[in-house]
């Protein structure tokens, strides 16, 4: 099997690769979103603490 044959997928390349691409995007997003949220939460915690010290 050559590389171009592999990407051609017997002519079904559009359906196969869009499926795999969608899965990649959705699953990466589900992984990155909580990572970002964590950073955001920790930042907020820092702010709350400073406010607490001032009071």
């Amino acid at each position: 099997m050559t590389l171009s044959e592999f990407f051609y997928m017997d002519g079904y390349y559009l359906y196969v690769w869009v499926s795999y691409g969608l899965a990649l995007v959705v699953m990466l997003a589900q992984y990155i979103l909580p990572l970002r949220r964590k950073r955001e939460l920790l930042k907020q915690l820092g702010r709350k603490k400073k406010r607490g010290q001032r009071l």
Partner: protein, 246 residues
């Protein structure tokens, strides 16, 4: 045993427990994905009827299985929240909803992308497809309901009821291809029965991908649960200490 459970029900302990589990699920996910993808896309032979288009199965079927599995975890946690009022189970149920919605969306989208070349249509209102779409709305409804309440405990009571009632849909999805005449094919993989409709050269990568999806699910579930605990406990001392440590 009971003592361990009560201990884990406290959000602080549950947070650190999830943290300890994380690497045991994150790394196997990566390895299983790489092996499963290589096996499914390169090693497995093309189907004699569907040619290479059948390779969508390695995404479609694991995603569809997970859409049901995640719902059962969510509903079980919701039931636990109602019975024992444990906060940890509320956190798990809430974390399940967006992940389940993502898997359901993937199952529907890849099914559509598979249906077009094989059945000649992107969508058909048959029992399997419709009940899976209902599942997506159940997940989205759960998330909408959850965000409609200011107080997390009140929200949990409402969402738990929704999650438990929605369980009715699960056997409908599962048996839809047997109960009704559907465009969607019947079950191919029946591990408990002896006759196997699928060749092992295709079945093995499918099972590897299914396991990879399961490990992936636990990984992102732990991540989301930890976030929600940090959010809920932001005023307690241990969270401040955790913030210093990170």
């Amino acid at each position: 045993m009971l003592q361990t459970i009560t201990k884990l029900a406290s959000l602080k302990n549950f947070y650190f427990f999830c943290g300890k589990l994380l690497p045991w699920f994150a790394w196997p996910t990566l390895i299983l994905m790489v092996v499963g993808l290589y096996w499914g896309l390169v090693e497995a032979p093309a189907d004699y009827q569907q040619k290479d288009s059948y390779r969508i199965i390695f995404i479609h079927v694991p995603a569809a299985w997970m859409s049901l599995f995640v719902y059962m975890v969510m509903a079980t946690s919701a039931a636990a929240s109602m019975i024992w009022k444990t906060k940890a189970s509320e956190v798990v149920a809430n974390s399940c909803a967006p992940i389940g919605a993502a898997f359901t969306f993937l199952a529907l989208a890849t099914g559509s992308l598979w249906g077009k070349p094989m059945w000649g249509t992107w969508w058909e209102w048959d029992a399997r497809l419709t009940s899976e779409l209902v599942l997506l709305f159940l997940y989205l409804g759960y998330m909408a309901l959850q965000s409609a309440f200011e107080d997390k405990r009140t929200a949990a009571r409402a969402t738990s009821i929704l999650a438990i009632v929605g369980v009715v849909n699960i056997p409908i999805i599962h048996y839809s291809v047997e109960w009704w005449f559907t465009l969607h094919q019947g079950p191919t993989v029946q591990l408990l029965k002896n006759k196997q409709a699928m060749d092992t050269s295709m079945l093995i990568p499918l099972l590897i991908m299914a396991t990879a999806f399961k490990f992936y699910y636990v990984t992102v579930l732990l991540m989301r649960s930890r976030n929600e605990i940090l959010e809920r406990e932001s005023h307690s001392k241990w969270v401040q200490e955790e913030k210093e440590r990170l």
